[in-house]
């Protein structure tokens, strides 16, 4: 069952995420994928995450497809203008890629080529529109395609946006994304279930499945770093403390993630696990969370 079918079956959705390497070494990546295979509904492949130059999302999605995994092709507006975005979408389709996650993308200054030109010819909302337009058999210029794709488009939302303006704008933009064609959402990492529940109540009427983001903590330092530097991520003090005091960081991290997942089962329609280098731990987390 592919991701789209899983979504419409009404089951609790599980997606994971893989960040391609900087270089051509793909063995570890494929081993990790093999470990998760069959346990998740889809695997996201990031598109030059944090604006760091590396192996591309499309190629890795294609490899995952070859290994029998349904990939979610993350596509940002940072590096490609509307010609390249549309062409890459068509290329992705002929390579067997069916799901696309439309993102604005980080600014190049956040990465390792800070002097690169920021493109942002389209944004996440207009990219979603373009995906739907391609699905209908037309490009952005209204020209007819010879053979059209049938992508399943999704988008992201940041429920932890910190100011009133930022939060309200997230909700407004979420509505725009749905109007533009988003059929599912994946969120930024969630650590506070009460806050997340309030967000979910607020967007209940949108009737679009939401997969709550789970980030695996590596250390207390990482948690503090995210609190300070990653927009929308807030790790509460007790969790930081638990990571600080534990003798077995991996075990504690797994416990925290499993607990959050259990809590999310009744709140949202699925989870999206961002293991950030701990992809091999995904199966045990799922087992602990009662998902296997």
């Amino acid at each position: 069952m592919g991701f789209r079918e899983a979504l419409y079956s009404g089951k609790f959705l599980i997606t994971a995420e893989i960040g391609p390497v900087k270089g051509t070494e793909i063995d570890v990546l494929l081993e990790d994928a093999e470990l998760i295979k069959g346990k998740v509904d889809a695997i996201n492949v990031t598109d030059l995450q944090s604006s760091v130059m590396r192996l591309g999302s499309m190629a890795v999605c294609h490899l995952l497809k070859d290994h029998g995994i349904d990939p979610i092709f993350q596509l940002t507006c940072r590096d490609r203008n509307r010609l390249a975005l549309q062409s890459d979408l068509l290329s992705a389709w002929v390579l067997g890629i069916r799901n696309v996650l439309a993102l604005t993308g980080d600014h190049p200054t956040m990465g390792d080529h800070p002097e690169a030109m920021p493109v942002f010819d389209l944004d996440s909302v207009s990219l979603l529109r373009v995906i739907c337009r391609l699905n209908e058999g037309f490009d952005m210029g209204g020209n007819q395609l010879k053979g059209a794709p049938d992508f399943f488009p999704g988008a992201v939302v940041n429920p932890g946006a910190d100011t009133e303006a930022a939060f309200e704008m997230q909700i407004i933009k979420m509505e725009k994304k749905i109007e533009a064609g988003a059929r599912f959402f994946q969120t930024q990492g969630i650590f506070d279930l009460d806050l997340f529940e309030r967000f979910m109540k607020r967007v209940e009427g949108f009737k679009t499945p939401i997969l709550g983001g789970i980030i695996l903590l590596k250390s207390a330092g990482m948690a503090r770093f995210m609190n300070k530097n990653v927009a929308g991520v807030f790790v509460p003090e007790p969790l930081i403390k638990a990571m600080e005091e534990t003798k077995d960081k991996v075990k504690t991290s797994i416990e925290i993630a499993a607990r959050l997942i259990k809590g999310m089962k009744d709140i949202c329609q699925g989870i999206h696990i961002m293991a950030i280098g701990m992809e091999d731990k995904v199966p045990v987390i799922m087992e602990k969370a009662g998902l296997l």
Binding site: H107, D123, V125
Partner: protein, 226 residues
């Protein structure tokens, strides 16, 4: 106004190293207002160059002039007699001014003393900020008078990227997120319905852009080649 800053002194000195007679031309408009290329700055640059060349034992003649606008042929015309007496003109105007002068005096090299930066406004003493990218299709009417094209680091026209923290932009932590400013202003004006409209993507202009006002033209002139 057009905001520009003066180039590093060493760079200017290097540009004019092979010349003995330099005319520095200031501009009385934008760069006078942003205190980088007006009469006073012409005077300062002239004495600094004289001094530096004197120390090197390579004396130089520096003329000083400031005209009302370097982007207007009418004002440029006024300096034609002085210009003819110099080896080189060092313009203290924006890039448009430098090119305006170069277009008029084709036999004299015209060099830029400034780095032209952006269309901006003053943001407190000694600070200027970019507020308009001259996109050619103004949408300020639906963004509460705050421009996302110029003031959002990604130029997003459909709402924020989700990267702001504490109301500040993810890209420069000392700059407010333009979309949060827009949100606050539209709420205040009770015009928040604009936030829900899906905006058309901006069209890229074909450069160089040109404005033709038929009503102001004397007669139809064909475009000139080289």
């Amino acid at each position: 106004m057009i905001v520009a800053e003066i180039k590093p002194f060493e760079e200017i000195k290097n540009m004019i190293k092979n010349y003995q007679k330099v005319l520095i031309v200031g501009c009385g408009s934008c760069v006078t207002v942003c205190l980088t290329g007006g009469e006073r700055q012409v005077e300062l640059l002239a004495s600094a160059l004289r001094m530096a060349r004197k120390i090197e034992g390579n004396d130089i003649t520096v003329g000083e002039l400031t005209i009302r606008r370097q982007c207007d042929p009418e004002f440029i015309e006024q300096i034609k007699d002085e210009a003819a007496q110099y080896d080189v003109i060092l313009s203290m105007a924006c890039g448009a001014g430098v090119q305006g002068i170069a277009e008029r005096f084709k036999d004299i090299p015209v060099l830029p003393a400034m780095n032209t930066m952006f269309l901006g406004v003053s943001d407190g003493q000694g600070t200027w900020v970019e507020v308009c990218a001259a996109c050619g299709d103004c949408i300020l009417w639906k963004t509460g008078g705050i421009c996302p094209v110029a003031r959002c680091a990604k130029g997003l026209v459909n709402g924020p990227c989700g990267g702001s923290q504490g109301g500040l932009c993810e890209v420069s932590k000392d700059v407010p997120c333009a979309w949060q400013l827009i949100y606050a202003r539209l709420v205040r004006l009770n015009l928040q319905h604009f936030l829900k409209d899906i905006s058309q993507q901006k069209k890229q202009p074909v450069r160089p852009r040109r404005l033709v006002r038929e009503d102001l033209r004397l007669k139809k002139e064909p475009t000139k080649g080289v």
